[in-house]
Subunit: 210 residues, 4 copies
Amino acid sequence: MERHPARVVAFSDAVIAIAVTLLVLEIRPPQDTRHLFHGLVTLWPSYLAYVVTFMLVGQVWANHHVMFDQIRTADRTVLFLNTVLLMDIAFLPFAASVLAGAFRDGHGQRTAVILHGIAFELAALLFNAIWQYVRRHHRLLVATIDPAGVKAISRRFRLALTWIAVGTLLGALLPPLGMAVIAAFIPFYWLPIRGEIARAQPRRDEGGPA
Amino acid sequence: MERHPARVVAFSDAVIAIAVTLLVLEIRPPQDTRHLFHGLVTLWPSYLAYVVTFMLVGQVWANHHVMFDQIRTADRTVLFLNTVLLMDIAFLPFAASVLAGAFRDGHGQRTAVILHGIAFELAALLFNAIWQYVRRHHRLLVATIDPAGVKAISRRFRLALTWIAVGTLLGALLPPLGMAVIAAFIPFYWLPIRGEIARAQPRRDEGGPA
Amino acid sequence: MERHPARVVAFSDAVIAIAVTLLVLEIRPPQDTRHLFHGLVTLWPSYLAYVVTFMLVGQVWANHHVMFDQIRTADRTVLFLNTVLLMDIAFLPFAASVLAGAFRDGHGQRTAVILHGIAFELAALLFNAIWQYVRRHHRLLVATIDPAGVKAISRRFRLALTWIAVGTLLGALLPPLGMAVIAAFIPFYWLPIRGEIARAQPRRDEGGPA
Amino acid sequence: MERHPARVVAFSDAVIAIAVTLLVLEIRPPQDTRHLFHGLVTLWPSYLAYVVTFMLVGQVWANHHVMFDQIRTADRTVLFLNTVLLMDIAFLPFAASVLAGAFRDGHGQRTAVILHGIAFELAALLFNAIWQYVRRHHRLLVATIDPAGVKAISRRFRLALTWIAVGTLLGALLPPLGMAVIAAFIPFYWLPIRGEIARAQPRRDEGGPA
């Protein structure tokens, strides 16, 4: 039941790509084309939910590769946790739709922000669970990763866990603030974080940086 | 018309990934955002149908790889049966939606559980048909599999056939019991089953366990 | 602008896989769960449209590989025609939905069968156009194909063109007959056709039959 | 955080393939099957939006490969810009749906053409941004591209930027004219453009033209 990660990654990529592209189906074109511009403007919560969710899933995708680049073989536990992770990611179009609806109607933002935050928090939890598991089972890791690389990835995943948790809790008090905190994770992510990748050697089938 | 299984597997993976991700479209966000929390709670049958169907399709995906890892070449019959299998898998979002609707409304659970069960039973039937076919046509199997490995996979696929059949029949009597039996197949699956994989050598392009 | 066919085939596979999996979204679960069994039964035209369209697209997928296995490089014209082909295939969920609706309501079957037939006829036309084009530009073909192999594929694609045309025309007179003729192409397809594959050597990156 | 472009391209291909195939979901089958032919005919703006958007995305796909064929490694900035590009492409089914609705109802065409144009203009902008970025960071480019090849791609991407901008601005004055100009980019694209590809050597894993 152990699997080379290439297949798992390809399947995961497909699910992530589909989930992220389905987000657009939750934005319904305005029915009243007589005031189309106005109708499009009132959809702003849908655009916002779309952008925040899409960009966060973009990070999930990148992190999924960062993690699986260091996994030499996926055993039953990794496969199981990864399936639960995919199930959570595939659920995000629903969470994004609920979020947009709540901000559009002006009701239920608290509930919607918590639902959306929990979906991402669960993803962060599963990332941490998978990583801690392979960390404890050295044979599942590639040989080229050193303790510093392992720690750097652990730090990155714990940070996501904390950041999303804080955002979700703040969202339970003040929904727009919670969303702002979670959205702030996007620009933060794209700032360089030292350590994990520079040290971790790319796999032979990856090519990687020169 | 014979095909290297890599292409067939890639196409099958895509269909499975899409089918499983489309499941979320069947969960409609509550219209009434004034009582959003309540509205989200009443959707519990949708979440349940989502989780059970997603996790079962996860097993279908894993088993599909277990089987095609042992197939050296896919002839016309294998291609045909596999196409029917994909057609059945792609139908599952409909079955899951019917299931959720029935439990939400409190009507038609019997019918819905049977429909959902039959869709999975048909998948199990097709797995058994493909495997028995390649078993009888040795040249379609990889050279590295031994009789014990062949038998282990046969046992696994026959077990799924029986398990789902029992769950569906029980569901015809008592729908929640049937669902519970079928859902119980998920944790069972992730317990290690000896034999088939340990013995079957991974294909060269797979890497596989060390 | 010339491309190795591997990328074109991968992209085409993705579009075909998505189109075929979206077919299920056109089958709407019955709203009235009090008479769920009856409601499911009245959806029979949707199931029929689903099965016929899915299996025919399965053939389109197989033929696409048969053709591109023999194409060494895809030039601008091949890329253009292939894009039009994909646009036609991605349109099929709409045609299938119209077909199901007409048979369910008992109105407009003639129009619906013609629409559905034209969509497949256009696909057949594009297959013939691509194949005749690469036939006339030898450098686009792999070196291993011989004139008999080329002819066998030409025959196969012309047959599809004729078969679908006849089915569509008959459907304009008597819709169920037209559908029956088009559906009959499915079992016919899975009977072995001699010549094209046996002679055409598989590409090195394919593995292929032993 | 640097990545071999193969993974990025595969993920991008998946998103593009899904976005383009979801376009069909925006074409709703006529409810009134008693006048099905008439109902299908009145959907012409949907077909038009479908064809124009699909074919333009086909060009986006081809250009994405033209660009990433020359990228040796994708750094953080390229990954970020590419994620924004995918977010924009995944938004196109919404823009196409708004476009079709406006032309069908005879209201809001101006707004709809501008929305549709801006979505493609943003894509063109991101193509230019990515390309100018890798141009200024030589180490991100493959070694085989020469200055003439770099310039040819720059020209091609700048042309798209200008063409779509002109079409969108004209569409703000006269919507059908704007659409015609944008649609005219499709046949133009498929005429051969000298320089960039002939000079740029294909990557080893590409095979490429003989």
